[in-house]
Amino acid sequence: MYNEKVMEHFQNPRNVGEMVDPGGVGEVGNMRCGDIMKIFIKVEDNIIQDIKFLTFGCGAAIASSSALTEMVKGKTLDEALLITNKDVAEELGGLPAPKLHCSNLAADALHKAIEDFRAKQ
C-alpha cells in the first residue's frame, strides 16, 4: 500500500517528541479520519532551528509528519510557509489516494505553529 520511502519514515520517524519551551506550537486534528498532529518549532533569526512533532494517526500521518520536519529544518519561516501538504506527499513519493486528504496535514500544522510563533512576537 505505502511505498518504501513512506514506510522508511513510518518506521524511523525523525524529530519525534515534545519540545521544551517551543517558539511556536501548531495542532491540527481531524477526528473523522482520526488523525491529530502537533508541531513544535524553535526559531532563531527567522530560521527554523529545530522542529518536533507528535502524531496520533495512521502510517501516512506519521510519515508525512516526519518528512515535513526534515523538509523545513533550516528553512526561513517564509520559505516554510510555501510548503504545502501536496509538497510533503510528493517528497514522500506519493501517498495512496484515500490518504491524500485526511492524513496529509503536516504542512497545515506547521503553518499554525508559525502563526503561533509570530503571534507571540
Binding site: M31, C33, G34, K38, L54, T55, C58, G59, A60
Partner: protein, 385 residues
C-alpha cells in the same frame, strides 16, 4: 521472517484435506452437472454428496441447502429474496446495527426501495435482546435478520431466543452464521431458524462459495436469473471444486469443533490478560458470550492502522476497526454502535485466532503489541503519562 496469522475472521488458510477433495474437480472430473453424459453425472453425484454432507452438518435436509458464491450472496438472496416474495402489505424488515455490511447494506437498499426497515440498536457488548425484537415486530413484519455471532467483536447473539420470538409471531428469521459455523452447534431441524448464511473460506474452505440454508416451505424468490441450477434460486454453472471443498470443510469444522474450541479458549485466556496488562487497553465485546477465537481490544491513545503496520513488520497479521484500515471515513460501525467514542474505536485491534496458532505465537504477539503500543504512545499527542 516467521509470520503469525491472527486474522481468521477475515479468511482462513484452506486445509490440505479440503484441497485434496477439490483436486479431482480441478482436473479430470470437469463435467457440468447439468449434462446428461458420464462427465455430467459424475459431477452431479459429487454435488449431491456435498449437499448431503452440508445438510448433515447443519441438521437439515439436503433440499434445504442452496450453494451460493459466498456469504455476501447468501445474505442478499435471503433478504432480497424474502422481500421480493412477500405478500402485499408485508413490507417490514428488522435487523441490527452491528450486522455485516452484506446484511446491513442490503436492508438499507430495501429501505430505499419502499420497504419499512428497523435497525435495532445494541448494548455496550454489541448484543440485541429478544425483547427488542419482539417489541419491533409489527403486523407488517416479514423478516428479522440478526447475525449468530459478530465478525468484529465476536459477541454471540441470543439467536435461538430471537428465532423463537419470530416463530411465535409468524415472521421469518434469518441469521448470518458466517463467523459462527465451526464454533457454534447447529441443528436446524429443531432450531427456530428459517434462513442461515455461510461462507466456506471462513472455516478453512475455499473462497468464492457459500451456503444459504432455506427451511422447507418458506417463500423465497430468485434474485439472479438464468438456468435451473439450485432449484432455479441460484442459477449459473455450479462452482464444483468450490462446492466439493465446502462439503469437506464443513465436515471437518463441525467434527473438530470441541477440540478446536478448547484450544482456542486456552490461547485466548493467555492473550486477553496479557493484553490488559499492557495498560490502557480495554476489551471490546461481551466478556463471556463471544466466539472462542475472537479478541477485540482498544489500545488507547494510538491509532489502529499504525499499530497494524508495526505488527505486520514484526510478522503478525491482524485487523483493526480503524477508519484508515477500512478505507472509510468512520471507524467500525460495530464499535460505534456499541457506544465507543471515535478515538477508542480508532485504536481497536482484532485478533481472530485459528487452528495453527500456538502459545508461543501468543507470547511473541504480546511482546510485539506491548513494544508497539509503547513506541506509538510516545509520539501520541493525546497520551498522558
Amino acid at each position: 521472517m516467521k509470520r503469525i496469522y491472527m486474522d481468521h475472521g477475515a479468511t482462513t488458510p484452506m486445509r490440505e484435506e479440503v484441497l485434496e477433495a477439490m483436486l479431482p474437480f480441478l482436473g479430470e472430473k470437469y463435467g457440468n452437472p447439468s449434462s446428461l453424459h458420464f462427465f455430467g453425472r459424475e459431477s452431479l453425484k459429487a454435488l449431491d454428496v456435498a449437499r448431503e454432507k452440508t445438510a448433515s452438518c447443519l441438521g437439515c435436509a439436503p433440499e434445504e441447502i442452496l450453494f451460493t458464491s459466498g456469504g455476501t450472496e447468501a445474505n442478499n438472496l435471503a433478504i432480497i429474496g424474502v422481500a421480493k416474495g412477500s405478500p402485499p402489505g408485508k413490507n417490514h424488515i428488522i435487523t441490527s446495527a452491528v450486522e455485516h455490511h452484506a446484511v446491513l447494506d442490503t436492508v438499507k437498499f430495501l429501505g430505499k426501495s419502499g420497504y419499512d426497515i428497523t435497525i435495532l440498536p445494541v448494548d455496550e457488548y454489541g448484543m440485541v435482546s429478544p425483547q427488542q425484537v419482539e417489541d419491533a415486530i409489527t403486523e407488517q413484519t416479514i423478516l428479522v435478520s440478526i447475525m449468530t455471532a459478530n465478525n468484529e467483536v465476536g459477541t454471540i447473539m441470543p439467536f435461538e431466543e430471537i428465532g423463537g420470538v419470530c416463530r411465535e409471531k409468524g415472521v421469518y428469521f434469518h441469521t448470518d452464521a458466517v463467523q459462527a459455523i465451526g464454533h457454534i452447534h447447529f441443528n436446524l431441524q429443531s432450531q427456530p431458524i428459517d434462513f442461515l448464511s455461510l461462507s466456506a473460506h471462513k472455516f478453512y474452505g475455499p473462497k468464492g462459495v457459500g451456503v444459504l440454508y432455506q427451511r422447507r416451505k418458506t417463500k423465497l424468490e430468485q434474485i439472479c436469473y438464468g438456468g435451473g441450477q439450485e432449484r432455479k434460486l441460484r442459477p449459473g454453472t455450479e462452482n464444483m471444486p468450490g462446492i466439493v471443498g465446502l462439503g469437506k470443510a464443513i465436515e471437518l469444522a463441525v467434527a473438530n469443533m470441541p477440540a478446536n474450541r478448547e484450544k482456542l479458549l486456552r490461547l485466548r485466556d493467555q492473550l486477553i490478560p496479557g493484553l490488559l496488562r499492557i495498560g490502557d487497553v480495554r476489551l471490546n465485546g461481551h466478556p463471556e458470550k463471544r466466539l472462542p477465537g475472537n479478541i477485540n481490544v482498544s489500545v488507547l491513545f494510538v491509532e489502529g492502522e499504525s499499530l497494524l503496520l508495526h505488527l505486520d513488520l514484526k510478522g503478525i497479521a491482524l485487523s483493526s476497526g480503524s477508519a484508515c484500515t477500512a478505507g472509510s471515513l468512520d471507524p467500525s460501525h460495530v464499535l460505534l454502535a456499541m457506544g465507543l467514542d471515535h478515538q477508542t474505536a480508532q485504536g481497536s485491534l482484532r485478533f481472530t485466532l485459528g487452528r495453527d496458532n500456538t502459545p508461543e505465537d501468543i507470547d511473541y504477539t504480546l511482546e510485539a503489541v506491548r513494544e508497539t503500543a509503547h513506541n506509538l504512545r510516545a509520539m501520541s499527542p493525546i497520551y498522558r503519562k
